[in-house]
Symmetry: C2
Subunit: 541 residues, 2 copies
């Protein structure tokens, strides 16, 4: 067989050759919808690559993007990796401290940043060691308004660039194409690299009937951010299959998403449960019915989807709603909760139970749920840790000693505790890791605990996840004071200001409560399940 | 990313782990339907591998299969390559001379042969130089009845073999898994090797919505023989996706195929146009209506599908009928004539014209139609030679000097002359070797054949080049009528007026003659050289 490498350039070429008339629709601001064809997109992407090459972009160089979901971000998704460089998709929601760490750790040399996100980058510029050039993405960028040095306008660059630029034809499929950082249980985020081969195979698999069934016929709206695990591969798959894509841009609300779904006749959309909870609430409260009849599939992932949410979509609004499971380390799709034919005559409740699982493992990926006796039986009962292997699963953290915790014997150890149902579906029951997932973003309870315990009034502190109707989980801080006689409200205010110094606002606990003690194991580890159960009896007052 | 190789073992493991209850249904004789689950199939495949290992099978060794489509052939499809050996799928329809050549050329060391095909192998045994062992596949094989030496019974081997055999976990994806020989225009057949990587990616792609959309929900009947280009990858795809498969066994008729489709609720079937012509004729003549309501897709390939045939399936029987294009060198799927969304509101005739093309190039495969000026424009007019590149395209003929004719500059030169439609579809107009060049202008014999076959009186038609003193070559139409009793001169006049509607006068055949049959290759392609040679003996009168 021919030694044809699996590289993203093939996707770009395919869109241009066969789907030149299909569209990328970007909401670039509250008042503007921008439309571009794949034919134009391909030309602009070549021009961007040419401009970046002129700025010194080389193979293996890290180029950061700091942006919402829009056509320019999509252009960087191809211009950078198809040139042999590496696109570092920076999570715009990280704290300044973490942003500084990951940009320096990745050694990003150019950063493409959205105009409305400039203040964040401006505030940390002096700490960034490797960045030589900033490029501002926006419609009418005024370069005189930023404090950044060595700064250029994306559109000006494109306007003067070479549209006959030719991408190299000697890329190897195992070259790194992109990278994302993922929050750790403790400490700084960990970097995950994606190879061309992994991204191509992952995106290809999204066209399978057994996953999302993407084809040229779809209109795809990734609500999941493009700075989160490649927006679950949807931008790559859309380009390869020639599907129209709708990119919802900055600061969208549920109503804006519904407006886009209705006006652009979106057929498939994907995001975290918090988004869908908001969409359902808005639909329920809408004064007149919305026409979402084009919508054939909602994909939910990033954390568990409550059954009530699935039921609302499927039964009340007649929109199929499936769960996908994955993580930053897995590109991300590992399993999908589609039904198999044996379930066709199951009851609604039985089917709902399947929908709410993490699903059946997709082709080319292997999953094993293992405990001390090896792989657990598919009995729906025996718990073990979920481990994963396959061509789009990471095999290390980028230049990080924490690699050995998660990657062992050729498998990724996810830290998720799961059972396998008799039908072969993965069902996650718990997490070994001490993380709180709030609106699709990780919050490290350990980091919050450590910070709280540096405060002079605090004896010890445990931070636990509490269920939340909108964000799924929110942190609650449980604090034992050194001296219980002091005035609680004043301590609480002190602790909040203490935390605000180090953490993004959305990391701050929803409440801080004061306990007599925190239950512990024999070796002194917090027993968080018991803490949750006994919370009331442990209160100081 | 993990360096997980793309090997067929993953397909076998997946079927056993997730689809153990799904079925392989084999018609093993005129009176017997054999049923086996994927769970049983996996056990039997391991036992077969164990038995073959005991017989000396080693990595890289060629193992021949000489068999119809059935579960035992499917077991060899996995037992051999998953052990690191190479399955040579021998075309049972080749002449003795060609069989001897290819078995000796491949150096097959073990041959698995169907009981009813024994006489062919017995008659050439003395010429086979490398074969050490024969294994007879059948339900109740009596070894005393064959003249073969060193012969064993498949079922006896399985019965005593080790079911705990473990396939090696260190196969590399570029290892050869299988091989087929393809007929050459002249000389002995040419060998094509398939790698694990190529077969895995090809089979994976058959689960894409843009191709056949195979999933666990399908019941798949490959009518295309398993000795012809991996039965178009359907057995591999069915195992990976957990689809039930219906294997039609020896010497089937159109009626037997219809019976199987009806009783087993087949949803997808695939074969050459000759098969479908026979099926339509049988349906048309059936005294009572047949229930083919389960059938969602008929795939036709191997040679051009006449529009009349497509129309009969789609309009008369309401069964979607698509054309796939490929060849032995391409594993085989290169392109598929599915509609894209822009065609949804086209007229029936416009849609039929698209269906009859060779289709849109599938993901991961590149096609270029090239003439002396480079790639031709997508104008539906400019002809060039179709060239192909991709991870499941061969890069050579096995130990064969003819490699350099077909494989140049990293591309496969197909010898097919084609145009690209404005929608990007490939439309083959002729073979380079089979074009008619009249007075310096090309005439497409395929276009004339297709037009003739849309006439109600015509069963099939071949158009060949005849030498001409003035114009060098002129077309001669050779027609097989559905009913030979009708008056030839009146039909001839009708056919000419039929052709005159669509073709320039100089394209019209110099004569139309009526034949009893058109000689075909073992896979149903017209043998035009033989047709020319045997013309007189084939005449109806």
């Amino acid at each position: 067989m021919m030694d044809t490498p699996l590289v993203l350039t093939a996707f770009l070429n395919r869109a241009e050759k066969y789907f030149g008339k299909k569209q990328i629709i970007s909401r670039t601001s509250d008042t503007k919808i921008h439309r571009i064809t794949y034919a134009d997109f391909a030309v602009r992407t070549r021009k961007l690559a040419s401009a970046l090459a002129d700025l010194g972009m080389q193979r293996g160089m890290k180029i950061g993007s700091f942006a919402w979901n829009h056509h320019r971000h999509l252009e960087t998704y191809f211009a950078v990796p198809c040139s042999g460089a590496i696109l570092h998709m920076i999570n715009i929601r990280l704290s300044a401290e973490h942003l500084i760490y990951i940009i320096n750790h990745a050694e990003d040399e150019i950063i493409l940043v959205d105009e409305d996100l400039l203040p964040i980058i401006e505030s940390i510029e002096h700490e960034l060691k490797s960045v030589k050039t900033y490029i501002i993405m926006g419609d009418d960028v005024d370069l005189s308004k930023t404090t950044l040095k060595n700064v250029l306008s994306y559109e000006q660059l494109i306007a003067s660039a070479d549209e006959n630029f030719v991408f190299p034809d000697d890329l190897e499929e195992n070259m790194t194409a992109g990278m994302c950082y993922t929050s750790a249980t403790t400490g700084f985020p960990k970097g995950v690299e994606y190879s061309h081969r992994g991204l191509v195979l992952h995106a290809l698999s999204l066209g399978l009937v057994e996953t999302f069934g993407i084809s040229e016929r779809e209109v795809i709206m990734p609500v999941v951010p493009m700075f989160h695990v490649n927006a679950w591969g949807l931008p790559f798959a859309s380009v390869n299959y020639g599907a129209n894509q709708v990119l919802p841009g900055p600061n969208f609300t549920p109503k804006i998403l519904i407006d886009l779904m209705e006006s652009e006749k979106v057929t498939l959309t994907a995001g975290v449960p918090t988004i869908w909870l908001g969409v359902i609430q808005t639909l329920d409260q809408s004064p007149e019915p919305r026409d979402l009849s084009s919508l054939k599939l909602v994909v939910s992932g990033g954390s568990a989807s409550p059954k009530g949410l699935i039921k609302a979509f499927e039964e009340k609004y007649n929109i199929p709603f499936i769960v996908g499971y994955g993580m930053t380390e897995t590109s991300p799709i590992v399993s999908v909760s589609n039904y198999t034919s044996e379930m066709d005559d199951w009851t609604a409740d039985e089917k709902l139970a399947i929908r709410a699982t993490q699903g059946l493992t997709v082709s080319l990926i292997e999953t094993r749920i293992v405990n001390e006796n090896g792989e657990v039986p598919a009995d729906g009962q025996t718990m073990g840790e979920l481990t994963i292997r396959g061509p789009w699963i990471a095999d290390e953290y980028y230049k990080d000693e924490r690699t050995e915790d998660a990657f062992r014997d050729g498998w990724l150890y996810t830290g998720d505790i799961a059972v396998r149902t008799p039908e072969g579906y993965i069902k996650i029951t718990d997490r070994t890791k001490d993380l709180i997932k709030s609106g699709g973003e990780w919050i490290s309870s350990v980091d919050l605990e450590n910070a709280l315990m540096t405060h002079e009034a605090v004896f010890e502190a445990a931070v636990i996840a509490m269920p939340h109707p909108k964000w799924q989980e929110r942190p609650l801080a449980c604090v034992v004071l050194k001296n219980n006689d002091i005035e609680e409200n004043s301590v609480k205010a002190q602790l909040y200001s203490h935390l605000e110094q180090d953490f993004a606002k959305w990391w701050l606990p929803d409440d801080i409560i004061f306990l007599k003690e925190i239950p512990k194991t024999s070796v002194g580890k917090f027993l968080k399940a018991k803490l949750r159960d006994d919370l009331e009896t442990l209160l100081v007052k």
